[in-house]
Protein backbone atom coordinates (compact mmCIF):
# COMPACT_ATOMS: atom_id res chain seq x y z
CA UNK A 1 0.00 0.00 0.00
CA UNK A 2 1.47 3.28 -1.14
CA UNK A 3 -0.46 5.26 1.50
CA UNK A 4 1.21 3.40 4.40
CA UNK A 5 4.61 3.76 2.77
CA UNK A 6 4.06 7.47 2.20
CA UNK A 7 2.64 8.03 5.68
CA UNK A 8 5.68 6.52 7.39
CA UNK A 9 8.44 7.44 4.93
CA UNK A 10 7.61 10.70 3.16
CA UNK A 11 8.56 13.97 4.81
CA UNK A 12 4.96 15.19 4.88
CA UNK A 13 3.69 11.82 6.09
CA UNK A 14 6.07 11.96 9.04
CA UNK A 15 4.82 15.43 9.89
CA UNK A 16 1.26 14.05 9.90
CA UNK A 17 2.39 11.32 12.29
CA UNK A 18 3.97 13.92 14.56
CA UNK A 19 0.81 16.02 14.49
CA UNK A 20 -1.64 13.18 15.06
CA UNK A 21 0.37 11.51 17.82
CA UNK A 22 0.97 14.95 19.34
CA UNK A 23 -2.76 15.63 19.30
CA UNK A 24 -3.47 12.33 21.06
CA UNK A 25 -0.83 13.07 23.70
CA UNK A 26 -2.25 16.57 24.13
CA UNK A 27 -5.67 14.99 24.72
CA UNK A 28 -4.12 12.92 27.49
CA UNK A 29 -2.43 16.00 28.96
CA UNK A 30 -5.80 17.73 29.26
CA UNK A 31 -7.53 14.67 30.73
CA UNK A 32 -4.70 14.02 33.17
CA UNK A 33 -4.80 17.63 34.31
CA UNK A 34 -8.52 17.49 34.99
CA UNK A 35 -7.97 14.29 36.98
CA UNK A 36 -5.10 15.75 39.00
CA UNK A 37 -6.78 19.06 39.78
CA UNK A 38 -9.11 17.01 41.99
CA UNK A 39 -6.34 17.19 44.59
CA UNK A 40 -7.77 20.60 45.46
CA UNK A 41 -10.94 18.85 46.62
CA UNK A 42 -11.27 16.61 49.70
CA UNK A 43 -9.00 13.50 49.78
CA UNK A 44 -11.95 11.25 48.95
CA UNK A 45 -12.41 12.95 45.59
CA UNK A 46 -9.09 12.05 43.99
CA UNK A 47 -8.86 8.72 45.86
CA UNK A 48 -12.30 7.82 44.57
CA UNK A 49 -11.28 8.83 41.04
CA UNK A 50 -8.10 6.72 41.30
CA UNK A 51 -10.14 3.80 42.62
CA UNK A 52 -12.61 4.19 39.76
CA UNK A 53 -9.77 4.03 37.22
CA UNK A 54 -8.15 1.04 38.93
CA UNK A 55 -11.48 -0.80 38.97
CA UNK A 56 -11.67 -0.58 35.15
CA UNK A 57 -8.51 -2.43 34.08
CA UNK A 58 -9.66 -2.82 30.48
CA UNK A 59 -10.19 0.94 30.19
CA UNK A 60 -6.92 1.85 31.90
CA UNK A 61 -4.80 -0.65 30.00
CA UNK A 62 -6.46 0.22 26.73
CA UNK A 63 -5.61 3.88 27.30
CA UNK A 64 -2.10 3.04 28.48
CA UNK A 65 -1.33 0.91 25.43
CA UNK A 66 -2.81 3.52 23.13
CA UNK A 67 -0.71 6.23 24.77
CA UNK A 68 2.39 4.07 24.63
CA UNK A 69 1.84 3.59 20.89
CA UNK A 70 1.40 7.34 20.43
CA UNK A 71 4.52 8.10 22.49
CA UNK A 72 6.46 5.55 20.44
CA UNK A 73 5.28 7.05 17.14
CA UNK A 74 6.02 10.58 18.36
CA UNK A 75 9.54 9.72 19.53
CA UNK A 76 10.59 7.42 16.69
CA UNK A 77 9.31 9.86 14.07
CA UNK A 78 10.97 12.80 15.84
CA UNK A 79 14.31 10.99 15.90
CA UNK A 80 14.01 10.01 12.23
CA UNK A 81 13.10 13.56 11.21
CA UNK A 82 15.93 15.05 13.26
CA UNK A 83 18.46 12.72 11.68
CA UNK A 84 17.20 13.53 8.18
CA UNK A 85 17.21 17.23 8.95
CA UNK A 86 20.79 17.07 10.20
CA UNK A 87 21.81 15.14 7.09
CA UNK A 88 20.21 17.80 4.89
CA UNK A 89 22.71 20.38 6.17
CA UNK A 90 26.08 18.65 6.63
CA UNK A 91 28.08 21.92 6.74
CA UNK A 92 26.82 24.62 9.11
CA UNK A 93 27.02 28.33 8.49
CA UNK A 94 29.88 30.26 10.09
CA UNK A 95 27.62 33.18 10.90
CA UNK A 96 23.96 32.55 11.48
CA UNK A 97 20.85 34.47 12.41
CA UNK A 98 17.56 33.00 13.53
CA UNK A 99 15.66 34.81 10.77
CA UNK A 100 12.35 34.91 12.57
CA UNK A 101 12.50 31.39 14.02
CA UNK A 102 11.33 31.30 17.63
CA UNK A 103 13.55 29.63 20.24
CA UNK A 104 10.88 27.06 21.09
CA UNK A 105 10.61 26.04 17.44
CA UNK A 106 14.35 25.42 17.21
CA UNK A 107 14.68 23.30 20.32
CA UNK A 108 11.68 20.97 20.09
CA UNK A 109 13.90 17.88 20.27
CA UNK A 110 15.61 19.24 23.40
CA UNK A 111 12.39 20.14 25.21
CA UNK A 112 10.92 16.82 24.08
CA UNK A 113 13.88 14.87 25.49
CA UNK A 114 13.53 16.49 28.91
CA UNK A 115 9.79 15.81 28.85
CA UNK A 116 10.54 12.15 28.05
CA UNK A 117 12.96 11.96 31.00
CA UNK A 118 10.25 13.52 33.15
CA UNK A 119 7.62 11.02 31.98
CA UNK A 120 9.91 8.12 32.94
CA UNK A 121 10.54 9.70 36.36
CA UNK A 122 6.85 10.51 36.82
CA UNK A 123 5.87 6.88 36.09
CA UNK A 124 8.49 5.62 38.56
CA UNK A 125 7.30 8.19 41.09
CA UNK A 126 3.53 7.78 41.09
CA UNK A 127 2.66 4.73 38.97
CA UNK A 128 5.30 2.08 39.69
CA UNK A 129 5.88 3.70 43.12
CA UNK A 130 9.62 3.03 43.26
CA UNK A 131 10.55 3.96 46.86
CA UNK A 132 14.01 5.40 46.10
CA UNK A 133 12.89 8.08 43.62
CA UNK A 134 10.48 10.00 45.83
CA UNK A 135 12.80 11.07 48.65
CA UNK A 136 10.32 9.91 51.31
CA UNK A 137 9.75 6.18 51.45
CA UNK A 138 7.60 3.33 50.24
CA UNK A 139 4.41 4.87 48.82
CA UNK A 140 2.82 1.43 48.50
CA UNK A 141 2.29 1.58 52.29
CA UNK A 142 -0.07 4.52 51.85
CA UNK A 143 -3.53 3.09 51.77
CA UNK A 144 -6.94 4.23 52.84
CA UNK A 145 -10.45 2.89 52.92
CA UNK A 146 -12.80 4.05 50.24
CA UNK A 147 -16.28 2.71 49.73
CA UNK A 148 -15.47 -0.28 51.93
CA UNK A 149 -12.33 -1.17 49.94
CA UNK A 150 -8.70 -0.86 50.93
CA UNK A 151 -7.35 1.45 48.20
CA UNK A 152 -4.14 3.31 47.42
CA UNK A 153 -4.08 6.72 49.10
CA UNK A 154 -3.27 8.82 46.05
CA UNK A 155 -4.00 12.05 47.89
CA UNK A 156 -1.41 11.19 50.55
CA UNK A 157 1.17 10.27 47.90
CA UNK A 158 0.71 13.64 46.26
CA UNK A 159 0.73 15.79 49.40
CA UNK A 160 3.76 13.95 50.79
CA UNK A 161 5.51 13.64 47.44
CA UNK A 162 5.46 17.34 46.57
CA UNK A 163 6.72 18.42 49.97
CA UNK A 164 10.15 17.27 48.79
CA UNK A 165 11.75 20.38 47.30
CA UNK A 166 13.76 18.74 44.52
CA UNK A 167 10.79 16.71 43.36
CA UNK A 168 8.71 19.87 43.09
CA UNK A 169 11.57 21.67 41.36
CA UNK A 170 11.97 18.91 38.76
CA UNK A 171 8.21 18.86 38.16
CA UNK A 172 8.17 22.61 37.65
CA UNK A 173 11.11 22.50 35.23
CA UNK A 174 9.43 19.73 33.26
CA UNK A 175 6.16 21.67 33.15
CA UNK A 176 8.06 24.71 31.94
CA UNK A 177 9.53 22.68 29.10
CA UNK A 178 6.18 21.08 28.32
CA UNK A 179 4.77 24.59 28.05
CA UNK A 180 7.63 25.54 25.72
CA UNK A 181 7.04 22.41 23.63
CA UNK A 182 3.31 23.06 23.35
CA UNK A 183 3.83 26.76 22.69
CA UNK A 184 5.26 25.83 19.30
CA UNK A 185 3.87 22.33 18.89
CA UNK A 186 0.15 23.02 19.24
CA UNK A 187 -0.04 25.56 16.44
CA UNK A 188 2.36 23.53 14.27
CA UNK A 189 -0.05 20.63 14.53
CA UNK A 190 -2.60 22.67 12.60
CA UNK A 191 0.05 23.69 10.06
CA UNK A 192 1.28 20.12 9.50
CA UNK A 193 -2.23 18.82 8.94
CA UNK A 194 -2.96 21.70 6.58
CA UNK A 195 -5.69 23.09 8.84
CA UNK A 196 -4.65 26.66 8.33
CA UNK A 197 -5.58 29.58 6.19
CA UNK A 198 -4.69 33.23 6.06
CA UNK A 199 -7.71 34.21 8.10
CA UNK A 200 -7.52 31.40 10.66
CA UNK A 201 -3.81 31.46 11.45
CA UNK A 202 -3.81 34.45 13.86
CA UNK A 203 -6.69 32.85 15.78
CA UNK A 204 -4.92 29.47 15.89
CA UNK A 205 -1.62 30.88 17.15
CA UNK A 206 -3.25 33.00 19.85
CA UNK A 207 -5.60 30.24 21.01
CA UNK A 208 -2.89 27.57 21.13
CA UNK A 209 -0.55 29.86 23.05
CA UNK A 210 -3.30 30.64 25.55
CA UNK A 211 -4.03 26.92 25.94
CA UNK A 212 -0.36 26.09 26.54
CA UNK A 213 -0.18 28.81 29.21
CA UNK A 214 -3.33 27.37 30.77
CA UNK A 215 -1.83 23.87 30.83
CA UNK A 216 1.33 25.23 32.45
CA UNK A 217 -0.59 27.06 35.17
CA UNK A 218 -2.87 24.08 35.80
CA UNK A 219 -0.02 21.61 36.20
CA UNK A 220 2.27 23.93 38.15
CA UNK A 221 -0.17 24.99 40.85
CA UNK A 222 -0.52 21.38 42.03
CA UNK A 223 3.09 20.81 43.23
CA UNK A 224 3.43 24.48 44.18
CA UNK A 225 0.31 24.57 46.36
CA UNK A 226 1.43 21.38 48.11
CA UNK A 227 5.02 22.51 48.52
CA UNK A 228 3.90 25.83 49.99
CA UNK A 229 1.72 23.82 52.43
CA UNK A 230 -1.46 25.40 51.11
CA UNK A 231 -2.99 22.02 50.32
CA UNK A 232 -3.05 18.89 52.48
CA UNK A 233 -0.21 19.63 54.92
CA UNK A 234 -2.19 18.25 57.91
CA UNK A 235 -3.10 15.17 55.92
CA UNK A 236 0.54 14.72 54.91
CA UNK A 237 1.63 14.78 58.55
CA UNK A 238 -0.86 12.06 59.44
CA UNK A 239 -0.04 9.97 56.40
CA UNK A 240 3.68 10.27 57.07
CA UNK A 241 3.20 8.21 60.26
CA UNK A 242 1.69 5.49 58.14
CA UNK A 243 4.58 5.73 55.71
CA UNK A 244 7.17 5.26 58.42
CA UNK A 245 5.21 2.71 60.46
CA UNK A 246 6.61 -0.79 60.73
CA UNK A 247 3.41 -2.49 59.66
CA UNK A 248 0.72 -1.36 57.32
CA UNK A 249 -2.33 -0.02 59.12
CA UNK A 250 -5.22 2.19 58.25
CA UNK A 251 -4.94 5.69 59.66
CA UNK A 252 -7.78 7.78 60.99
CA UNK A 253 -8.28 9.79 57.88
CA UNK A 254 -8.88 6.59 55.97
CA UNK A 255 -11.75 5.68 58.29
CA UNK A 256 -13.33 9.05 57.67
CA UNK A 257 -13.06 8.44 53.99
CA UNK A 258 -14.84 5.14 54.42
CA UNK A 259 -17.95 6.68 55.97
Amino acid sequence: MKIIDRLFNSSLGKKYLMAISGLALFGFIVGHLVGNLQVFGPPELINGYAHFLKSKPALVWGARLGLLAMVAIHIVTAVRLTMENKAARPVQYAKWKENGASKSSQYMIVSGSVILAFIIYHLAHFTVLLPFVNGEGDFTKLTTVFDGHQVADVYAMMVIGFQVWWVTLFYLIAQGLLFWHLFHGLSSMFQSLGLRSYSWWPVITKATKAVSIGIFIGYSIIPLAIFLRIVGSDYAEKARHQLHAETVQVVGSGKEAGK
Binding site: A88, N99, Q106, Q191
Partner: protein, 257 residues
Protein backbone atom coordinates in the same frame (compact mmCIF):
# COMPACT_ATOMS: atom_id res chain seq x y z
CA UNK B 1 32.92 53.46 2.33
CA UNK B 2 35.00 50.33 2.71
CA UNK B 3 34.07 46.96 4.16
CA UNK B 4 35.91 43.75 4.99
CA UNK B 5 34.50 40.62 3.39
CA UNK B 6 34.89 37.13 4.79
CA UNK B 7 34.18 35.06 1.71
CA UNK B 8 33.84 31.30 1.42
CA UNK B 9 36.40 30.13 -1.15
CA UNK B 10 36.18 26.60 -2.46
CA UNK B 11 38.01 25.47 -5.58
CA UNK B 12 35.56 22.76 -6.63
CA UNK B 13 33.11 20.14 -5.36
CA UNK B 14 35.78 17.83 -4.01
CA UNK B 15 38.14 20.35 -2.40
CA UNK B 16 37.31 21.56 1.11
CA UNK B 17 36.69 25.30 1.34
CA UNK B 18 37.65 28.01 3.80
CA UNK B 19 36.96 31.65 4.57
CA UNK B 20 39.25 34.31 3.15
CA UNK B 21 39.22 37.97 4.16
CA UNK B 22 39.17 40.69 1.53
CA UNK B 23 39.40 44.41 2.07
CA UNK B 24 37.27 46.20 -0.53
CA UNK B 25 38.45 49.34 -2.32
CA UNK B 26 36.46 52.55 -1.78
CA UNK B 27 32.79 51.76 -2.55
CA UNK B 28 29.79 53.80 -3.56
CA UNK B 29 26.81 53.24 -1.26
CA UNK B 30 24.53 52.95 -4.28
CA UNK B 31 26.34 49.89 -5.60
CA UNK B 32 24.40 46.66 -5.29
CA UNK B 33 26.01 43.85 -3.33
CA UNK B 34 26.79 42.08 -6.61
CA UNK B 35 28.35 45.21 -8.11
CA UNK B 36 30.52 45.43 -5.02
CA UNK B 37 31.66 41.84 -5.66
CA UNK B 38 32.36 42.80 -9.31
CA UNK B 39 34.64 45.58 -8.08
CA UNK B 40 36.42 43.25 -5.67
CA UNK B 41 36.82 40.68 -8.46
CA UNK B 42 38.30 43.28 -10.79
CA UNK B 43 40.94 43.99 -8.17
CA UNK B 44 41.62 40.27 -7.73
CA UNK B 45 41.89 39.73 -11.49
CA UNK B 46 44.32 42.65 -11.81
CA UNK B 47 46.48 41.07 -9.13
CA UNK B 48 46.37 37.76 -11.00
CA UNK B 49 44.26 36.06 -8.29
CA UNK B 50 41.24 33.86 -8.95
CA UNK B 51 38.07 36.02 -8.81
CA UNK B 52 35.24 35.05 -6.43
CA UNK B 53 32.67 32.93 -8.26
CA UNK B 54 29.05 33.90 -7.54
CA UNK B 55 25.70 33.37 -9.26
CA UNK B 56 23.93 36.30 -10.91
CA UNK B 57 21.83 36.99 -13.96
CA UNK B 58 19.05 39.58 -14.29
CA UNK B 59 20.11 41.74 -11.33
CA UNK B 60 16.58 43.08 -11.04
CA UNK B 61 15.18 40.61 -8.53
CA UNK B 62 13.16 38.45 -10.88
CA UNK B 63 15.29 35.56 -12.17
CA UNK B 64 16.19 33.83 -8.90
CA UNK B 65 19.78 33.23 -9.90
CA UNK B 66 21.58 35.24 -7.23
CA UNK B 67 22.05 33.58 -3.88
CA UNK B 68 24.52 34.28 -1.01
CA UNK B 69 24.00 34.15 2.72
CA UNK B 70 25.08 37.59 3.86
CA UNK B 71 25.86 37.88 7.57
CA UNK B 72 23.66 34.92 8.44
CA UNK B 73 20.65 35.86 6.31
CA UNK B 74 20.00 34.65 2.77
CA UNK B 75 19.79 37.61 0.36
CA UNK B 76 21.09 40.07 2.93
CA UNK B 77 19.57 42.24 5.64
CA UNK B 78 16.30 43.35 4.03
CA UNK B 79 12.92 41.68 3.76
CA UNK B 80 11.40 40.72 0.43
CA UNK B 81 14.54 41.61 -1.54
CA UNK B 82 17.08 39.48 -3.39
CA UNK B 83 20.86 39.89 -3.11
CA UNK B 84 21.01 41.77 -6.42
CA UNK B 85 18.82 44.53 -5.01
CA UNK B 86 20.62 44.78 -1.70
CA UNK B 87 22.70 47.96 -1.78
CA UNK B 88 25.90 48.79 0.03
CA UNK B 89 24.20 51.70 1.77
CA UNK B 90 22.57 49.04 3.96
CA UNK B 91 25.96 48.43 5.56
CA UNK B 92 28.19 50.65 7.65
CA UNK B 93 31.65 51.80 6.73
CA UNK B 94 34.18 49.34 8.17
CA UNK B 95 31.68 46.47 8.57
CA UNK B 96 32.93 42.90 8.50
CA UNK B 97 30.52 40.94 6.30
CA UNK B 98 30.37 37.15 6.08
CA UNK B 99 29.48 35.93 2.59
CA UNK B 100 28.61 32.24 2.38
CA UNK B 101 26.97 30.03 -0.21
CA UNK B 102 23.51 28.49 0.39
CA UNK B 103 24.27 25.41 2.44
CA UNK B 104 22.26 22.21 2.03
CA UNK B 105 23.15 18.66 1.07
CA UNK B 106 21.05 18.84 -2.14
CA UNK B 107 22.72 22.20 -3.02
CA UNK B 108 26.21 20.96 -3.72
CA UNK B 109 28.81 23.73 -3.89
CA UNK B 110 30.31 23.91 -7.37
CA UNK B 111 32.77 26.70 -6.67
CA UNK B 112 33.12 29.44 -4.03
CA UNK B 113 29.61 30.89 -3.63
CA UNK B 114 28.01 28.99 -6.51
CA UNK B 115 25.84 26.03 -5.60
CA UNK B 116 24.04 23.52 -7.78
CA UNK B 117 20.26 24.08 -7.57
CA UNK B 118 19.28 21.54 -10.23
CA UNK B 119 17.34 19.65 -7.57
CA UNK B 120 14.72 22.42 -7.85
CA UNK B 121 14.49 21.83 -11.61
CA UNK B 122 13.97 18.12 -11.03
CA UNK B 123 11.16 18.84 -8.54
CA UNK B 124 9.52 21.12 -11.13
CA UNK B 125 9.91 18.49 -13.83
CA UNK B 126 8.21 15.93 -11.58
CA UNK B 127 4.90 17.80 -11.73
CA UNK B 128 5.17 21.57 -11.63
CA UNK B 129 3.31 22.05 -14.91
CA UNK B 130 -0.08 21.53 -16.53
CA UNK B 131 -0.53 19.18 -19.45
CA UNK B 132 -2.31 21.15 -22.17
CA UNK B 133 -2.00 21.26 -25.91
CA UNK B 134 -0.21 24.27 -27.17
CA UNK B 135 -1.77 26.37 -29.87
CA UNK B 136 -3.54 29.67 -30.19
CA UNK B 137 -4.14 31.49 -26.92
CA UNK B 138 -7.59 30.65 -25.52
CA UNK B 139 -10.20 33.39 -25.25
CA UNK B 140 -9.78 35.53 -22.18
CA UNK B 141 -12.29 34.66 -19.46
CA UNK B 142 -13.31 31.44 -21.20
CA UNK B 143 -12.45 29.75 -17.88
CA UNK B 144 -13.78 31.78 -14.95
CA UNK B 145 -11.26 32.17 -12.11
CA UNK B 146 -12.40 33.68 -8.81
CA UNK B 147 -10.46 36.88 -8.13
CA UNK B 148 -9.37 35.69 -4.65
CA UNK B 149 -7.91 32.52 -6.13
CA UNK B 150 -6.14 34.28 -8.96
CA UNK B 151 -4.59 36.73 -6.45
CA UNK B 152 -3.47 33.90 -4.21
CA UNK B 153 -2.16 31.89 -7.16
CA UNK B 154 -0.19 34.95 -8.25
CA UNK B 155 1.29 35.25 -4.75
CA UNK B 156 2.52 31.66 -5.05
CA UNK B 157 3.60 32.11 -8.66
CA UNK B 158 5.93 34.91 -7.56
CA UNK B 159 8.38 32.25 -6.36
CA UNK B 160 11.57 32.68 -8.34
CA UNK B 161 13.03 29.38 -7.16
CA UNK B 162 16.16 30.95 -5.69
CA UNK B 163 16.43 28.49 -2.79
CA UNK B 164 16.67 31.05 0.01
CA UNK B 165 13.97 29.08 1.90
CA UNK B 166 16.24 26.04 1.92
CA UNK B 167 19.24 28.16 2.91
CA UNK B 168 17.40 29.76 5.83
CA UNK B 169 15.67 26.66 7.18
CA UNK B 170 17.47 25.02 10.07
CA UNK B 171 16.45 21.70 8.48
CA UNK B 172 17.35 22.72 4.92
CA UNK B 173 13.75 22.01 3.94
CA UNK B 174 12.47 22.96 0.50
CA UNK B 175 8.83 22.97 1.50
CA UNK B 176 8.20 26.66 0.86
CA UNK B 177 9.44 26.32 -2.72
CA UNK B 178 7.53 23.11 -3.38
CA UNK B 179 4.42 24.46 -1.68
CA UNK B 180 4.51 27.62 -3.81
CA UNK B 181 4.76 25.58 -6.99
CA UNK B 182 2.09 23.09 -5.91
CA UNK B 183 -0.36 25.78 -4.74
CA UNK B 184 0.19 28.07 -7.68
CA UNK B 185 -1.31 25.51 -10.05
CA UNK B 186 -3.57 23.88 -7.46
CA UNK B 187 -5.46 27.15 -6.97
CA UNK B 188 -6.34 27.56 -10.63
CA UNK B 189 -8.94 25.65 -12.65
CA UNK B 190 -6.33 24.73 -15.25
CA UNK B 191 -4.35 22.93 -12.55
CA UNK B 192 -7.21 20.82 -11.23
CA UNK B 193 -6.96 17.71 -13.47
CA UNK B 194 -3.46 16.93 -12.21
CA UNK B 195 -3.74 18.52 -8.76
CA UNK B 196 -3.34 15.43 -6.59
CA UNK B 197 -1.00 13.59 -8.93
CA UNK B 198 1.16 16.72 -8.96
CA UNK B 199 1.48 17.12 -5.20
CA UNK B 200 2.48 13.48 -4.75
CA UNK B 201 5.03 13.56 -7.56
CA UNK B 202 6.63 16.82 -6.39
CA UNK B 203 6.79 15.81 -2.72
CA UNK B 204 8.23 12.42 -3.69
CA UNK B 205 10.93 14.15 -5.74
CA UNK B 206 11.62 16.65 -2.94
CA UNK B 207 12.20 13.76 -0.54
CA UNK B 208 14.38 11.95 -3.07
CA UNK B 209 16.63 15.00 -3.37
CA UNK B 210 17.38 14.83 0.36
CA UNK B 211 15.83 18.05 1.70
CA UNK B 212 14.81 18.19 5.36
CA UNK B 213 11.30 18.54 6.76
CA UNK B 214 9.33 21.55 7.93
CA UNK B 215 9.48 22.45 11.63
CA UNK B 216 7.28 25.53 11.14
CA UNK B 217 10.02 27.87 12.39
CA UNK B 218 8.98 30.43 9.78
CA UNK B 219 12.50 31.47 8.80
CA UNK B 220 11.76 30.58 5.15
CA UNK B 221 8.97 33.13 4.85
CA UNK B 222 11.11 35.67 6.72
CA UNK B 223 13.89 35.51 4.12
CA UNK B 224 11.86 34.84 0.95
CA UNK B 225 12.64 37.62 -1.52
CA UNK B 226 9.07 37.28 -2.78
CA UNK B 227 7.50 37.12 0.72
CA UNK B 228 5.77 33.80 0.12
CA UNK B 229 4.03 32.68 3.30
CA UNK B 230 3.68 29.48 5.30
CA UNK B 231 -0.01 29.42 4.32
CA UNK B 232 1.07 27.73 1.11
CA UNK B 233 2.88 24.96 3.01
CA UNK B 234 -0.37 24.28 4.88
CA UNK B 235 -2.16 24.19 1.53
CA UNK B 236 0.36 21.64 0.23
CA UNK B 237 0.05 19.57 3.42
CA UNK B 238 -3.72 19.50 2.95
CA UNK B 239 -3.49 18.55 -0.73
CA UNK B 240 -0.96 15.80 -0.01
CA UNK B 241 -3.19 14.36 2.73
CA UNK B 242 -6.18 14.35 0.38
CA UNK B 243 -4.01 12.80 -2.34
CA UNK B 244 -2.94 10.02 0.05
CA UNK B 245 -6.55 9.32 1.01
CA UNK B 246 -7.66 9.27 -2.62
CA UNK B 247 -4.94 6.71 -3.36
CA UNK B 248 -3.28 6.02 -6.66
CA UNK B 249 -5.48 5.64 -9.75
CA UNK B 250 -6.30 2.20 -11.08
CA UNK B 251 -3.77 1.17 -13.71
CA UNK B 252 -5.41 0.80 -17.08
CA UNK B 253 -4.31 -1.86 -19.56
CA UNK B 254 -2.87 -0.32 -22.69
CA UNK B 255 -2.45 3.06 -21.01
CA UNK B 256 -6.12 3.95 -21.55
CA UNK B 257 -5.60 4.98 -25.15
Amino acid sequence: MKVTLKVWRQKNKSTPGEFKAYQTPELNGNMSFLEMLDVVNEGLANKGEEPIAFDHDCREGICGTCSLVIDGKPHGPHQGIATCQTYMRSFEDGDEIYVEPFRAAPFEIIKDLVCDRKSFDRIQQAGGFITVRTGAAPDANSIPVPKDNSDLAMDAAQCIGCGACVAACKNASAMLFVAAKVSHLGLLPQGQPERFKRVKAMVDQMDKEGFGSCSVTGSCEAVCPKSITLDFIAMMNRDYAVALLKGDPKPIAGGGA
